[in-house]
Symmetry: C2
DNA sequence: CTCACACGTGGAAGCGCTTCCACCACAAGG
DNA sequence: CCTTGTGGTGGAAGCGCTTCCACGTGTGAG
């Protein structure tokens, strides 16, 4: 009498019984790699379908000693990062990708800059299948034990054995600077992100190279992607180089902060100074003037990192995703 | 010879051995409720600390037949909700709370409006410990089997057996309208959210009551919290009631859209029309003029829902979190 | 001085999977 | 005809925890 009790989800044992094979064979037939005959595969698949069998990820995780969730670890100062829309967006995108690919959850963690070992600890957690680390430093990556390297993917800098996924902001920066040059701007300043970030470094290199080609000297102000820093950076720039005619901020929030500062100083945008941002956040289209910016394909990046992690693609060292220029009124 | 093999995390068996008790007792001593003597409790706790024992959530979940993650289910049209900063913020807050309280992950799901049963299906998933449903409809909540009701918490409307957590937007609306009245505005329009949302209904009731007390007739325009709808709603309002002197939008994005529309029509804010929003998003402080708004304590709400779910607090039917008025230049 | 009844405790049986290992055919080589 | 493989299979032992159950103990009441 093969009857599944009411109120109980079918298990692999039910499937095996119905298919007339052992649990071991059923397990192998359902997994792609295991040795199993074609006929067994077929019968098990049919039985599973008829029963509406759904594998229990918890049992599988326990048996294979892997985790049931992906950790998203964001580097930065906790207080600052807590209301970071970028982190929230990465998390949402990862959660969506993880739920779509496999049935795994996502948890969010902060990586204090002063304690690089926290990342290593996270990778040792028993029930974490993999870690997507956002903007890690090289020392932090170095704390990951060699054996756990295949359970880490980076959005930011990578290493030889940690694949990295990021927006191609070198090209994006070049494109943006060339756009500003094409519209007649010659005294172009840049508000950067934290200098320890590799994406800041890549953008800086592109900025210097593009300016050098057109023979214009650089004007730099440090920032940290927040609106407040954008404001003070714009003030600094206009005080130090009053004839500046364009500002490119590596982050829309900084750009919008700069916009407020410029308005406060009576500087017309784009009349006196052209202004451009990075990320294309929702508000960029709503400001006055609306902000020229370049996209950050976070969803694609997070999906890439997620599948790399879940499929153990160790063969992809670095992937850069293209950004597209969004022209609006501020330039 | 009590020696833990290298390269292996200590398990409960290791702790039990070191404490000189059985695994069963160790388990009971570690759990808060189980029967265990004070001395056993103490010895097990000490052994656990010395060994650096961390319970394996996967094994626990398998044994107790509970899940290892919390699902955050957002009601709405997928395309719209995918880049909804509010959903991302709820997810991030939930993930933070879940990681802090227990060691569980979070996954993100969309609930299409046309298929209320999706929520019921989610609650039946074997490895989901609980579902936090954002802005559910009553029919959707009704699809949750009675036995699973204690595994659901709602941000939005609740039922007798599903606790709900939300911002007290009735009071917030009253406060905002009273603020507008106090600054001399008398022809106050409101841009609402989708009418099927309970929070829209609560705000509407408060709006009508407050206006009725001051003897001013209502002026309503429907919206859906997006900037685009805010723009068209503002246009509609100013066309239909040209003497409007204040607009309150139930969402900052709508308010900012309205601001753009008003600027386009040559209406001065706050000179001709005072403008107020809801949520206090990051950009509200950066617009020109900066936006008067009222906070949405998403982090506290998500933390409340998370702990309610993980601790099976079924005794709290409804909790409303206070919003605070943020006065800026737009009113 | 019994009997009942707590209360703590250890043994052991799961939870639902994966995977090691032994086994059995059967085909191919000597 | 016997050995040596080979691919498919089932039994069973885990993974690390919780919890049922039975079994002593020490206490109070009868």
């Amino acid at each position: 009498m093969v009857e599944v009790a009411r109120n109980r989800e079918p298990t692999l044992a039910d499937v095996a019984r119905r298919a007339g094979v052992s649990v071991a064979t059923a397990s192998r037939a359902l997994s792609v790699r295991g040795p199993a005959s074609a006929s067994a595969r077929h019968r098990v698949a049919t039985a599973a379908r008829e029963l509406g069998y759904v594998p229990n990820p918890v049992a599988r995780a326990l048996a294979t000693r892997t985790g049931t969730r992906l950790a998203v670890a964001v580097a930065g100062q906790t207080a600052h990062v807590l209301n970071d829309p970028y982190a929230a967006r990465v998390l949402a995108a990862t959660a969506t990708a993880a739920a779509a690919t496999r049935d795994v959850g996502v948890s969010l963690h902060w990586l204090p800059l002063h304690d690089p070992a926290e990342l290593g600890r996270l990778t040792e957690n028993r029930d974490i299948a993999g870690v997507i680390v956002v903007n890690p430093t090289t020392p932090a990556l170095a704390t990951v034990p060699r054996s756990a390297r295949d359970r880490v993917a980076s959005i930011g800098i990578g290493t030889r054995d940690v694949p990295s996924f990021d927006v191609d902001n070198a090209t994006a920066t070049t494109t943006m600077i060339e756009h500003l040059l094409a519209t007649g701007r010659r005294r172009i300043a840049m508000i950067t992100g934290p200098e320890w970030l590799p994406c800041t470094q890549r953008a800086l290199t592109a900025y210097h190279r593009t300016l050098a080609e057109s023979g214009t000297p650089p004007r730099l102000a440090p920032g940290n992607f927040t609106a407040a820093h954008g404001e003070s950076a714009a003030t600094t720039i206009m005080t130090r180089w009053p004839d500046t005619d364009a500002i490119f901020a590596l982050g829309d929030l900084s750009a919008l902060g700069a916009l407020a500062a410029l308005r406060g100083m009576g500087v017309d945008v784009p009349g006196d100074v052209a202004l451009a941002g990075f990320d294309d956040i929702a508000y960029a289209a709503l400001s006055h003037p609306s902000l020229t910016t370049t996209t950050n394909p976070v969803e694609a990046i997070a999906a890439g990192a997620t599948t790399a992690l879940l499929d153990h693609h160790t063969s992809t060292p670095q992937t850069f995703y293209p950004s597209t220029l969004i022209l609006r009124d501020s330039t």
